[in-house]
């Protein structure tokens, strides 16, 4: 059995374990051991601000995705099967569209001469085009769009397992629908909320394409810090240290979450 799994394991070891290990090594070794790279990451303003911004954006994206995703998952769970298949297909189809294609679509929608601005001018709502993209707003709108399925799917999976008799029991005991929702349904759906939020937050922390294409160079998220240090400044040590700190944040989040729910629940969606 070990022989059967070893080719796949070899690919994983050579192409992700070794490269990540290499990064970790490079972050602390340059003609001798050094912590200089980490010192920079934790003291220089550019790095601090980028990490803070990344966490802020990730929190905002997660919160918005939860607010938008919960009603959709709830509706999909409470309508007849044919409708719920339709709703879930609409959620999943963008999921399998290239992230790059969706980033392009948002550029087309949001830019100064884009669909939304032209439409609003046509309606005479605005006289000057709104700055909807090449800023944090555009980044958040597109990132939420790309990550929303990762929120809806675990929410729906969890809601499916909540027995509907519980709601009926609540109603028969005289509780209003909103009270049964708040006291019975909502608490039981919390594992799904946690799974969805974890996935969205963690994916957002390392997101690259949307901030790079829609952020207009001002929204420097951590991933862009890594790529710029490699591509523009040849600062391999600094890039590696940033990557290691990002990876450790992600692993720490997974570790904490795994105390509460099974990680299969978080990862097994796509």
């Amino acid at each position: 059995m070990l022989a059967l799994v070893s080719p796949a394991l070899l690919v994983i070891l050579a192409l992700i374990v070794l490269p990540v290990g290499w990064l970790a090594w490079q972050s602390i070794y340059h003609d001798g051991f050094t912590l200089e790279n980490y010192h920079r990451v934790f003291t220089e303003d550019v790095y601090w601000r980028s990490f803070a911004l990344t966490f802020e954006i990730s929190l905002a994206v997660t919160a918005i995705a939860l607010l938008l995703g919960y009603p959709v998952a709830y509706l999909a769970n409470s309508v007849p099967k044919g409708w719920s298949i339709l709703i879930l297909s609409l959620v999943v189809l963008p999921f399998w569209t290239s992230v790059l294609v969706r980033a392009y679509a948002w550029l087309a929608l949001l830019q100064r001469t884009g669909v939304i601005n032209q439409f609003l001018r046509y309606l005479d709502v605005i006289s000057e085009p709104l700055a909807l993209v090449h800023n944090t707003f555009g980044t958040v709108v597109a990132t939420v769009h790309i990550l929303l399925p990762f929120m809806v799917l675990p929410l729906y999976a969890t809601m499916q397992k909540i027995p509907s008799d519980l709601m009926q029991a609540g109603a028969s005991l005289g509780a209003s629908p909103s009270l049964t929702f708040m006291r019975v349904f909502l608490p039981l759906s919390l594992p799904g909320v946690l799974a969805g939020c974890t996935m969205v937050f963690v994916l957002c922390l390392g997101f690259y394409i949307t901030p790079e294409l829609l952020g207009g160079g001002r929204t420097v998220m951590v991933s862009m810090l890594v790529s710029r240090n490699v591509e523009l400044y040849n600062q391999f040590g600094a890039a590696s240290a940033v990557a290691v700190v990002l990876l450790l944040s992600v692993l720490a989040i997974f570790f904490v979450v795994s105390r509460f729910i099974s990680l299969d629940r978080v990862l097994g969606q796509k």
């Binding site: 059995m1 059967l4 796949a8 994983i12 490269p19 884009g114 690259y208 796509k270």
Partner: protein, 261 residues
């Protein structure tokens, strides 16, 4: 029960708006790609195929398309057998390390892709795999493996291993019994896993940005570079084609999965 209460109506409205938000950007690229306008105008002034012509007539785009298709096909051909073998071993073995190995095979989904990309770039730079075809294929095999493993493991869960035991007790060796008894029953999950690995390779952008170059640049890398400079509707034409391909493949994969039950 709670028919058409105000809360219920609010739920319908909010959900409908969210679904429009999800689908609209995917659909909007289609009219843009068929527009005759040089710059983005909406609604398009007139119907035209010029951006598709521009795409098919441009040697650089065609070369990139060949690279993408070759990489995606090779990824499927390599990742599928590796993933099936691994999933089979994980489901059959009672060894403790298997749990750890299972987790390791899902690592590409856990490690932020930008980190993987930069790490692979450093390793490839040392061994001379930057801007090569084998380098691009290997990276995509690694990224596609989890999809095959997850899909096949799910397929194996509904398969009764006793059937394979019967085949073996009747004198088949393990390999033959796998191909004769097990594989036909998990076929749809294998095909689905392969298709997802194909889509993953076709859409992959970030690793390609770091490790591909010269004549071995996939479509996504060229698109990314083009998007940074100016927005050319040719990209809309390519995006429409890629999206159509993805949708077709997903339908293929899910209809096969549906047949299983």
């Amino acid at each position: 029960m709670m028919r058409a209460s105000p809360a219920r109506i609010a739920l319908y409205v909010v959900s409908a708006l969210v679904l429009v938000y999800l689908i609209l950007p995917v659909l909007i690229i289609v009219p843009i790609s068929f527009s005759s306008a040089r710059f983005l105008t909406f609604p398009p002034p007139s119907f035209s195929l010029r951006w598709y012509q521009q795409y098919f007539a441009n040697p650089a785009w065609m070369q990139a398309t060949r690279v993408t298709l070759t990489v995606a096909l090779l990824t499927v051909v390599i990742a599928t057998p590796l993933g099936v073998a691994a999933a089979y071993a994980i489901s059959q073995s009672k060894l403790r390390v298997m749990r750890l190995i299972h987790m390791a095979l899902l690592l590409p989904l856990v490690v932020p892709i930008i980190i993987t990309a930069v790490g692979i770039f450093f390793v490839y730079a040392r061994v001379g795999l930057v801007a090569t075809m084998p380098g691009l294929v290997l990276a995509n095999v690694m990224l596609g493996l989890p999809y095959v493993v997850i899909s096949v493991l799910a397929g194996l869960q509904s398969f009764d291993p006793a059937q394979e035991m019967v085949a073996r007790s009747l004198g088949m060796n393990r390999l033959r019994s796998f191909f004769a008894v097990t594989l036909p029953q998990i076929k749809s999950s294998v095909v689905a896993g392969g298709i997802f690995a194909f889509i993953s390779a076709m859409d992959e952008t970030i690793v390609a940005l770091f490790i591909s170059g010269g004549q071995y640049q996939p479509l996504t890398k060229r698109m990314f570079t083009a998007l940074r400079d100016e927005i050319d509707p040719t990209i809309a034409a390519i995006s429409t084609l890629m999206t159509a391909a993805s949708f077709f493949l997903v339908l293929l994969a899910t209809s096969r999965q549906g047949k299983k039950t």
